[in-house]
Symmetry: C2
Subunit: 255 residues, 2 copies
């Protein structure tokens, strides 16, 4: 039966204004990092009215199995879950996808292969941000999950570009990085600040020129307001990815 | 041709683990309110691991035309844009939808009719939150856009339940509420605090028992940390809607 709702739906479906370059965001890893990505995407976009901002679809599936455990073979494989989210984003209209989770980038090739739209890489976004902040060479301190650091997600690209990478030792990784990430995932953002601060300080003792917050939980433990105290260049992988997305969108709409 | 990717896609599509009660969020009105809704949804969910959180899909289309202007016939009609988002959310798997924009609820009936899944109403969520905070009767001060207040979105329901509503006069609406909302939409959250504070104070002078932040921009102008200073019960329509969504999800998964 063709009722009024059907007529409306057909009329709306015909409306080409609704299309355009939507950004897809594969979130939920963790859910707070995905939400904060959306917030930073908004805060970092220049513009004084709603309509100036980047249209986006966030797929936030916090049930995606733990990435470090999955990679280590100690838990279910997160890849089929992540692929499911990528496909939903593409089907819903995303013309490019970002993944605000560093560890998930260990599966980057398989995720990019699951869709036909570009997937902006978080490491490229961080490199662009380092250069934007004037760090084109030197010693880069890396913080992140043990998985990200052991699999050299950042090291390979940074070394290729001539940077020297400095990483925490296994004991620091456990006591500082992993502990801070665990507390953020429990929503204990204030408690997470102590171990995250220790993590940064231990890299500064090794005379780094910049610190990469290479896990999307770590920026939540170290709010922007406290970062100035460290007196070093810091690159926040959430902000870097948001800036890459804003640049993609500006190019896609031809502005 | 059936290649490896196709085989993988078919295998994934068959995987029933990926379903379940996803929450749909019609955001972008403004984009910061939608992002902060996702953040509060996460912060207010009890749970210490990612997997305890509510699976959600955020449709953030900031191009949705201005709601107050559209309602007044001074700008394009936002309804077809909002309906488009509702349908995308349903198609992507949402089993219930929330709309973190009070003014959009002026179109609630048309939006609810566009989908076959329940749409949790922001006014019901706020009423539940008032009761949760112990305010079951009395004088309720309302802040929001001129559209929301003039069309009595909150007043009708609150009056029906026996509350007395107190609203700002037209001058206060323009100088305090509208100004604060405008500054939030420009990302000037700190500047927005002054007029938002004035708006609350002018209601307190009229001896209200509680204040409803009945526009999803206003909670962004008055962070949780500063609300205690007012010495009154405050209901934040973003938090209230997030709590309603968490309760819906808990019931849907049978916990």
């Amino acid at each position: 039966m063709v009722n009024d709702d059907t007529v409306e739906a057909l009329r709306d479906a015909d409306d080409s204004r609704f299309g355009g370059p939507f950004l897809g965001v594969l979130g939920g890893m963790g859910p707070m990092a995905g939400a904060v990505f959306m917030e930073r995407l908004t805060a970092l976009t220049p513009g004084s009215v709603d309509q100036a901002h980047v249209p986006a679809i966030l797929w936030s599936d916090p049930r995606i199995p733990d990435r470090p455990a999955g990679r280590a073979g100690m838990g279910p494989d997160p890849l089929p879950w992540m692929r499911n989210g990528m496909r939903h984003l593409e089907r819903a209209g995303a013309r490019a996808i970002v993944i605000p989770c560093n560890t998930a980038h260990v599966w980057y090739d398989a995720l990019a292969a699951a869709v036909s739209v570009p997937v902006l890489h978080i490491v490229s976004a961080v490199v662009d941000d380092l250069r934007r902040q004037g760090v084109a060479r030197g010693r880069i301190g890396l913080l992140g999950t043990a998985t990200t650091l052991r699999l050299a997600l950042y090291q390979r690209e940074l070394t290729r570009l001539g940077y020297t990478c400095v990483v925490p030792d296994e004991d620091e990784l456990a006591r500082h990085c992993a502990e801070s990430i665990r507390l953020v995932k429990m929503n204990h953002l204030i408690d997470a600040r102590g171990p995250a601060t220790e993590a940064v300080v231990s890299l500064l003792r090794r005379r780094v020129d910049a610190v990469v917050l290479g896990c999307t939980e770590l920026p939540l433990a170290l709010p922007h307001a406290v970062r100035g105290e460290f007196g070093t260049v810091m690159t926040d992988s959430i902000d870097a990815l948001a800036l890459a997305a804003i640049a993609w969108h500006a190019a896609a709409v031809g502005s």
